[in-house]
Symmetry: C2
DNA sequence: TTGTATGCGTTATCAC
DNA sequence: GTGATAACGCATACAA
């Protein structure tokens, strides 16, 4: 049998409410009695029944996090940043991965909602084009923060990186290296990050007077298989591009592997650049140029925003969209020797 | 205001208990009334208050998972396996990472305990040498399943791979490739997995009549920096090993990078082999030979075991230790041409 | 500063 | 099959 505040109260001949207040450090209780109570609580091995407290207060001190893949360096960095801030502020964090699958994302969101998380931090999956499962939260003013893959249709705090700037810089860099015919393997355009990266690419081309060639742009889900299919398509008619900007590192890798297998040298024959700075991009040969995203900082910021929102229930917050700088990392795969 | 079972009851002029039973598919309720109740529950937008139900039943339908690092391919595979089975069985999964930090692990365990997870699946951190935070669970018969990094001192289901066999096979393989002076960079020996890998290494050496040279064995935390330090130490006195068995892929990688920087060729001059089959091990040059661990299956099995335990409260279960086969993957880094 | 009384929404025990 | 009632452990409005 677990000891309750009533047991402690009985032992000390005081009321349960005093015990409750003392244990919650309510300043209205005198220090003397508070200490007395805490001491006997300790002695009796008291452990608060959080389930009861949560039920009573309708709060869980829990932040839900939905990410597409826990296994991607960028996302796990964000998660670490969130955890860092959350734990310091007395919040637990519960993480689930959608696997870029809409059904799973929907299910997780409903589970989190049913379990009354105090707030939700989310980066949506590639298949996500409807948002009822997220409006569940915003409609009831449950704090909601988006990062990276955000949703325009919902008002909330949003934390993104400068994808447009990243795409622009990367393409500019390829042009500076002498590339004239630059292909782009992009992600699904329902996700704004990929749209922005692509628009940055287009802007850089236009600025340099290079016409945009739609046949050089392929949008897919950026898996390894997708990357291979894309490069096959791009090189089909022997009208080869001289550089490829891939919207993530994984497809950049698969492109490089495919090219190498077919006797084409990177970067000598074709320049390649990725996005996100996955750890492997530094390790492979050639090392892959890419764009660095400040995942850990984004996570910290996301947690700060949501905790503020949870604690300040007074009035609607002014939602802000925070854009973090992205930074190009020039490695071997994009540099003419 | 959320609608409750009482609201539904009032609307239908029946009792709340009937509503409760109907919504929980209690077979004692006639199908007619059940349907009637479910229909109006739908109409009224009823959402069960899980917090109240959890409080009442002392169950949360939640499984806690503690892993050292969410970011390691092996661990995230296990997590995916756990989620797969858990969701299918109506359990939510809440994941936290210890970062191989004891304090954090301790805190997470206490948080999970306080939040009354129905069961805990855990792989302990490198610093973990005391287990009170886990006995919290076993002492109160809260289902507990260890995987990979298990704890001998606590009786529970355990799922491991054949680390001994892996270490043995790997070393054997190096010997077959002609290695005579084989170093070992191992993990902390308080973790049985590393002890077993090391013992497999020793067994293979002995079998081949090679004497064990303590100066060729270095134990550390297997980070990238540790790997570099270890190889520096091993090559200090110009008395070089001709092969190195690293207890994980990351230290194998840092060893290879260090050697390459110093003009020593892998595998021509020194053979290197890792452990765990991290994705990058296939991608780097030379590709790293390693040992494959069936993470996803382990996760599924762990979830199955814990769910069985949660549902069968009758009597103490017979705890089993399941050993999954490990499989050597021969790539370039360990093969004499 | 402390005590009393009440209720959160559900499930479980009993009675009918 | 269904209903009345109590209880889970805590936090809080109100009274003292």
């Amino acid at each position: 049998m677990e000891t309750t505040i009533h047991d402690i109260a009985k032992r000390l001949n005081i009321s349960a409410s005093t015990v409750s207040r003392a244990l919650n450090n309510n300043p209205i209780i005198s220090e003397a009695t508070r200490n007395r109570i805490k001491k006997t609580a300790d002695e009796m091995g008291y452990r608060p029944n959080i389930l009861a407290a949560n039920f009573r207060t309708k709060r869980t001190n829990t932040i839900g996090v939905i990410v597409p893949l826990i296994n991607r360096h960028f996302f796990s960095s964000v998660v670490s940043g969130i955890e860092d801030v959350a734990y310091k502020n007395g919040f637990a964090v519960t993480i689930s991965q959608s696997n870029d699958n809409f059904e799973k994302e929907d299910k997780i969101a409903h589970t989190f909602f049913a379990n009354r998380v105090d707030g939700l931090i989310v980066s949506i999956g590639m298949e996500t084009t409807t948002f009822d499962h997220l409006k569940l939260f915003s409609d009831r003013n449950i704090p909601l923060v988006f990062f990276d893959r955000v949703v325009d249709e919902i008002e909330a705090h949003k934390i993104v990186i400068d994808d447009f700037g990243g795409g622009y810089l990367v393409t500019k860099h390829l042009i500076e290296q002498g590339a004239k015919k630059i292909a782009h393997i992009g992600g699904p355009l329902n996700l704004k990050i990929y749209k922005n990266r692509q628009e940055g690419y287009c802007k850089a081309l236009k600025e340099s007077g290079i016409e945009i060639d739609e046949s050089l742009i392929i949008n897919n889900s950026l898996t390894r298989a997708d990357g291979t299919r894309a490069i096959q398509k791009l090189t089909k008619n022997n009208d080869w591009p001289d550089a490829i900007f891939c919207a993530n590192d994984l497809s950049a890798l698969s492109v490089i592997i495919y090219l190498q297998k077919n006797g084409i040298k990177v970067p000598e024959d074709i320049l390649v650049i990725g996005f996100s700075n996955e750890p492997f991009s530094e390790l492979v040969t050639p090392s892959i140029s890419t764009v660095k995203q400040p995942g850990f900082s984004m996570g910290k910021k996301a947690a700060e925003l949501i905790i503020n929102q949870i604690n300040n229930t007074t009035g609607k917050p002014e939602f802000e969209t925070i854009t973090m700088p992205s930074e190009i990392i020039e490695r071997s795969s994009s540099k003419r020797k």
